[in-house]
Symmetry: C2
Subunit: 324 residues, 2 copies
């Protein structure tokens, strides 16, 4: 939920004067994304989303994100591409902050994905990976596995405060990743935040993805691992093997998964849980007492970390083999 920057009707009119979209007919702040301010805008020409980027998104990386969204949309991947103004600019400015106008992507995010949703989401992710091929932009994943030890260095005390003994356990995880992180797996552009709230469905079918502001160049199977953590844990905390199987099955409909990729998934998912645990612990610690947005509980991902660490999840992953 997020509307950090307000925009007056006069500012909106001035902004829209650079587009051919007619007069605005409705304008409402929407609760989408936690990093930016988003507004649903209706004009005589159609529906759009105006995003004002807040401090968490680095302005110098916006051309990469907007360029990627445009690339994907141009290749038929259902998303919400940025719209160019009269002068061809997609990156604009509102109240001194970067801003962009995007197409409105219809569809419903699901809160409790079924097996059908998981299968569809998996297929959508493979579609995304394929559609992104050839995109010339490059961005290093600054939240990739090489960054975790550095991130944790400043958070050991907080981890210990969260749960006594946790700091040493995390250190052991990090040592494991340093030793065993798989190399040589297929790489490409990954979404890196392919959570249920960023994926839309229509009539139960995959209808598109939004929020590409963590996208980067990284191991493709790691993107699947991030998604498995987000889509395939039951409310009670158990890893849902059937859901994971459905997700991977859906993925394979579009892009075959090499044996090494499938074999690496348990470790990649362990690492993906580390990535979200660390940033949530950081946000939890850094949030000022009066913050408008409640940080997400780091313990959710601490439990997912523990599940992967115990091998309970990994051992249970009898993921179906790719059809011969």
């Amino acid at each position: 939920m997020a509307v950090y920057t307000d925009i007056s009707d006069t500012e909106l009119e001035a902004f829209l004067a650079d587009y051919d979209l007619g007069a605005p007919t409705s304008f409402k702040g929407i609760a989408e994304g936690v990093e930016n301010s988003n507004f649903l805008l209706e004009t005589e020409a159609g529906r759009y989303v105006l995003t004002i980027y807040e401090r968490r998104v680095r302005a110098d990386q916006l051309p990469f994100f907007l360029g990627l969204m445009e690339w994907l949309a141009a290749r038929g991947f259902p998303s919400a591409p940025p719209i160019a103004d009269h002068e061809g600019r997609r990156l604009r400015s509102v109240r001194g902050k970067p801003a962009a106008l995007s197409a409105f992507l219809p569809g419903l995010a699901v809160r409790r994905p079924t097996l059908v949703h998981c299968r569809e989401a998996g297929e959508g992710l493979a579609w995304l990976h394929l559609a992104a091929r050839g995109f010339p932009g490059r961005r290093v994943n600054d939240l990739g596995w090489r960054a975790w030890a550095g991130l944790f260095a400043g958070l050991a005390t907080q981890a210990e405060a969260l749960k006594p003994g946790l700091a040493a356990t995390i250190e052991a995880d990090l040592a494991l990743f340093a030793r065993s992180w798989p190399a040589g797996l297929p790489e490409g552009i990954i979404h890196a935040d392919y959570f249920p709230d960023n994926v839309f469905f229509a009539d139960g079918r995959f209808a598109g993805a939004i929020d590409f502001y963590f996208a980067a160049w990284d191991t493709l199977a790691y993107d699947i691992a991030v998604a498995l953590n987000a889509w395939c844990f039951q409310a009670g905390g158990a890893f849902d093997v059937a859901a994971a199987g459905a997700f991977v099955e859906g993925y394979r409909r579009r892009r075959p998964l090499a044996a090494e990729e499938a074999a690496a998934l348990p470790l990649l998912a362990h690492g993906a849980a580390m990535r979200f645990f660390l940033t949530r612990l950081n946000d939890w610690t850094g949030a000022p007492p009066g913050a408008l947005v409640r940080p997400k509980d780091p313990l959710e991902y601490e439990r997912k970390l523990a599940a992967h660490r115990s091998g309970a999840a990994a051992g249970a992953w009898a993921l179906p083999e790719a059809p011969a």
Copy 2:
């Protein structure tokens, strides 16, 4: 900005099963109203707003509010009437909280009203007063002038903390109201919260009003006074005589204002400033440190109170006479 209660896709489907609106195609939390959770819902049949009522709205008063909205819409007043389900129920329940589905009202709220907006808004308020005539529901204005002394009794210390000497000044105001509050002016259903964010425009013309959750039976001119405080103060804190003149002129296009009503406006506006000062002071004081919604600054209305008290505003109100 407000989304306090989340709703899952399964819950949404169950809710919609009681209506004939087809399948949902989009569902987004919107930043509208501070008291309730609001969602913009699109289905195959059209666009709607789903409101889940939080603790501030008393459930036993919802039939009055929903009935009034329906009454107004049935009489052609542009608003967002509640929609009945198969069994004729307008008041429903989601996650144990009262909820209602309403029509979507297009239009833009303005942040910085021009004279044209003020004139249109004034006409819209008179339209509302006329359209509400005959509505059989009754609700006492529990934030009307008789409630203020009681409200202030618990807040004197906070007022003094806000500004030394303020408590005694407020006491003097309250004594003035007790002595001089006008009696016998025309009464009816008032909106009671007719602020710019609750009034929509299309092409610069009045296009409707929303958020009737303070509506009550009270003095009609008091509703004008509430609106003058909200629409006709300049950013610098000065009362905008021209804007007030435009608002009243617009009002008179639809409903003639008796001489006694016009004469009472300065005192009514002084009182209306008290009402919003007191509730804002109360919200300011009562807000927990981690609250998601930042309470509105009570000092804004303290300054408006001071303006009315000094007579600066009242003396300047050379409101145009009704045409003979």
